[in-house]
Point group: C2
Amino acid sequence: MNKEEKILQYLDLPFQHIHNDILKGDPIAAARLISMVEDDDPTAVKILQELYPHTGKAYIIGVTGPPGTGKSTLIDGIIGYLRKEKKGIGVIAVDPSSPLSGGAILGDRIRMSSHVEDEGVFIRSMATRGNPGGLANATIEAINIIDALGKDVILVETVGVGQAEVDIVKIAHTSIVVLTPDMGDDLQMIKSGIMEMGDIFVLNKGDRDGADRVFQDLRNVLAGGGNRNGWSPSLFKTEACRGIGIQELVEGVRLHRAYLEGSGNIGVVRKRRSETEFVYLLRDALLDFVLNDMIKIGTLTRIVDDIAERKRDPYRAVREVIAGLKKRS
Amino acid sequence: MNKEEKILQYLDLPFQHIHNDILKGDPIAAARLISMVEDDDPTAVKILQELYPHTGKAYIIGVTGPPGTGKSTLIDGIIGYLRKEKKGIGVIAVDPSSPLSGGAILGDRIRMSSHVEDEGVFIRSMATRGNPGGLANATIEAINIIDALGKDVILVETVGVGQAEVDIVKIAHTSIVVLTPDMGDDLQMIKSGIMEMGDIFVLNKGDRDGADRVFQDLRNVLAGGGNRNGWSPSLFKTEACRGIGIQELVEGVRLHRAYLEGSGNIGVVRKRRSETEFVYLLRDALLDFVLNDMIKIGTLTRIVDDIAERKRDPYRAVREVIAGLKKRS
């Protein structure tokens, strides 16, 4: 029986099986629950809720940066080092696919292929399927599921420099930003955008033209400030596809973790994660609650039509909805 | 008196001045109001509301794609063609800077420098300053402000492939996705992510190695489906920095516009924009309303602490908040 068949099997099992199997460390059960989360399956919440007390143990590493910087290859390398110590690893690749299509791909799996067959490594791509903010929520929940699965370290890869990164930066214990020398021209644009998003910066493809100059530029930028929880970001040069610099990077993550634990800032990270989880769930639930109400009584279409025809403005329309909620009290 | 001094002057003027001056086409007034929106100035909403009936006239073009693809240079070229026809142009560069720092840059202005001194072109960078989703809202409102300013065409540039793109795709009449031959390796990953996000695709830096192959790949992918409102996406090859292919691209945008107007789908786009505006404003307003309430009565910190310590789970916490709202009715 292959993995896909096993996943299908869960369709017929009572949901407490999924819960129990995840706590026993069964990756197929975890994969099934993540799919349920992506599909907005209402029964997922019940299982997530039961799993929640078993979360909060994994160390979460965010790996972010523009497309084409070699993040997946870098993660592949990091996994190699962590697996030598028998650490259980989870990997989430956040795939910013279009909400207009609901499409999803698993291209990242290929790049991490050296670990696909390793039972100690759980790899998962996440795709957005619909509502704005949905991907952030689903990713947060996938992290919790893999956490409950008992993995020691969870690596979360996000592509681009958009909202998804912002979210993972709030959740991760250590946030790694990956750049390449090709980004030299864009460094000016990129640096103020993401310099504050990393605890650790990596200049990957360090053998390329101009790497030394960009490395120096980055060093200067980082020296100029920008830190999270009192930590001055560190900088590494790697050639992920040849395995160069990975060990130093893994050591760098360890140093940052030691700093967080030594300074007590690990508690700050924990609360930031909890607040982000709560606020994001709340935001979606509130919108759902109110929009469903509006759809039920038929006001949504009318309001949208009125706005489209400029008979009404959206600011007043929103105020009226909020006023309606206040009046209830 | 330079622009910055003029902007400062508005700090002392009554707000109806800003409103009237924007309708008269004063770019300084528009810049001031956009800053107020970014700063979450509560008086901005009043002005936005008054301006709203004067919006909905501009044609909105989204330009999205990974960093380093030459979007700004391409936009610079597009502006050149549109200015020959005396069209009034607005440009919004959405800058995905970190919400952890509140930083912002205007690097894009440099790339569009050929038009910075042109009174017919209004250029603005937008940066996120805080709450998740804030950048999307601020961008939507900046579009309305420039619309009210009387510009004929508004180009909105977004970097990366994250949530901000998703938002602009919903708002724009024509959505242009810019790629480069360097993306060849990532094409597999990128294509399913953003193929459905474009009405028009541009392979920029078309003189680079492998351009023809990637162009063919893109053509094949696009032929395989993916369309918005019944339009099959078109594909162009450009060398923006040498001005090659820009005229054809501008012609392509015109064709798409003609399609939307001819098919009546322009009305679909208009409603999609109105719904997006309303729902995004509503989402933020609801969250603000509820969180402020929770902060006032001191429950937010307690809930977050409980979640961090796993004494409570965030799903139940959210349900309790929603139940509280329902009980009010």
